[in-house]
Amino acid sequence: MAWFRRSAHPEEDLSAYVDGELGERARRALETHLASCEACSTLLRELQDAKSLLSELPRLAPRRSFTLGPEFAAARQPAPRKRMSLTFAPVVALTVLVALLFVDAVDFSGGGSSDSGSFSTAASRQAEPGAGGLALESGKAPEAAPNASAGTAGGTAADSAAPAQDGESGAPSAGALTAPSPEEPAENAAPLTIRPAGDDESATSAEPPEAESGASQAQGPEGTSGGLSTLRILEIAATIALAASLLAVFLPRFTERRER
């Protein structure tokens, strides 16, 4: 009975063996044991008989058809499309996050606040949503802008360049940061998940921010210092959005797998 001592549930194993559901190692151990154990061999046979009898119990034939009539054609929950856009969300959130971090990096490498302040003020005058982190390269901005608005729905804001418009960069909260004036359009687009339209809007609406731009110029240099800058907030928001969308996409799959 050595095998019995090793197995915690010998009768369960015999039953699983009858169903062909025993793992490879356990199966071999059991078969070895059966070769020399009369009692277990008898029990095994009886369990097989029980299964065999049950399998011969007559089954019902349904008395009617259960197919659904045409009136049901409209009664489904819409599913697949939603799932697809949900999978997009992590990609978008990741893009936004990367772009924001890029802006961040370029910011600090660009030198002190006052420098960036003057640059960004100039940039902000041109107010165009563009690729992230191009605040200091206003010269390049005009080329970047159209690309940027086309791309990353997330709108990492940035910059500008635009045909010299006096308006400032699109966003209301222009005041918050210096270099980040590029962020402003980002703020509009950030709630994101795909609103390229948003980018275009902020691109064209140079006017509204005019008032704020005055404020931003004044505040510019002080933007980056201080506690929670707009850039930080956006980065944190994008990280949270990324984590949440990844969870939403993958958690149901893990749940299903475990059930199986």
């Binding site: 699983a16 169903d19 299964k51 119990l57 008395r63 054609a73 489904r76 199986r260």
Partner: protein
């Protein structure tokens, strides 16, 4: 009992709104669902009502099917409905065979609804049915899904929303109980089961 693995695109088509594809699945699985509901509820009419409800619910929620065994997913819906119905009725404790007999064996199915002649004689069949009815409901469901309907353990785990270990244990206990019933009435067993040692 390995299931034949052929890629079945009907669930996917059903998810895209193809009612005809879904109805093909209904036709394929309606006997299965009816029988499982019958084993859980004990009455053919109630079983057919539950089966109809299960198919409607499956269609409405087809979006939540995430692949794997479609029949297991379908049976999960059906068994949940049956459990709700049992709760509504109030469980009947069947602590002994006599009590089970008093409570009523499952209604015998209509004679014309039995598709094939059973190899079991009527007395043996009655004895098995009584023993099944006496089992705790989870053991009964597990053993029916395994021995009568041929699902594998993984599918049964999905259908009963539980773990493989629990499935294995419920089937083992049910089978041991059925064995006891058999051993207690050896005269009923067909000759091929009588042991010479």
């Amino acid at each position: 009992m390995e299931a034949v693995v052929i890629e079945d695109d009907r669930p996917r088509r059903a998810q895209e709104g193809d009612l005809a594809a879904f109805n093909e699945l209904v036709i394929e699985y309606q006997a299965l669902v009816c029988n499982v509901c019958f084993r859980m509820l004990g009455q053919q009419q109630a079983a057919e009502d539950a089966a109809q409800e299960a198919f409607v619910s499956a269609w409405r929620n087809i979006g939540s099917f995430r692949g794997g065994s479609f029949r297991a997913w379908l049976l999960r819906i059906a068994s949940n409905l049956c459990l709700d119905e049992l709760r509504r009725r109030g469980r009947r404790p069947a602590t002994s065979l006599d009590t089970a007999l008093e409570a009523g064996l499952p209604d015998p199915p209509d004679d014309d609804s039995l598709p094939e002649e059973s190899a079991l004689n009527a007395e043996l069949r009655a004895s098995l049915e009584a023993a099944l009815a006496q089992l705790p409901e989870e053991q009964r469901t597990a053993i029916v899904l395994c021995d009568v309907e041929g699902l594998d353990y993984a599918e049964i785990a999905v259908a009963m929303r539980t773990s493989l270990g629990t499935v294995k244990s419920r089937i083992a206990r049910a089978r041991l109980r059925m064995r006891e019933v058999m051993l207690g009435q050896p005269e009923l067993l067909p000759a091929r089961f009588r042991q010479g040692g």
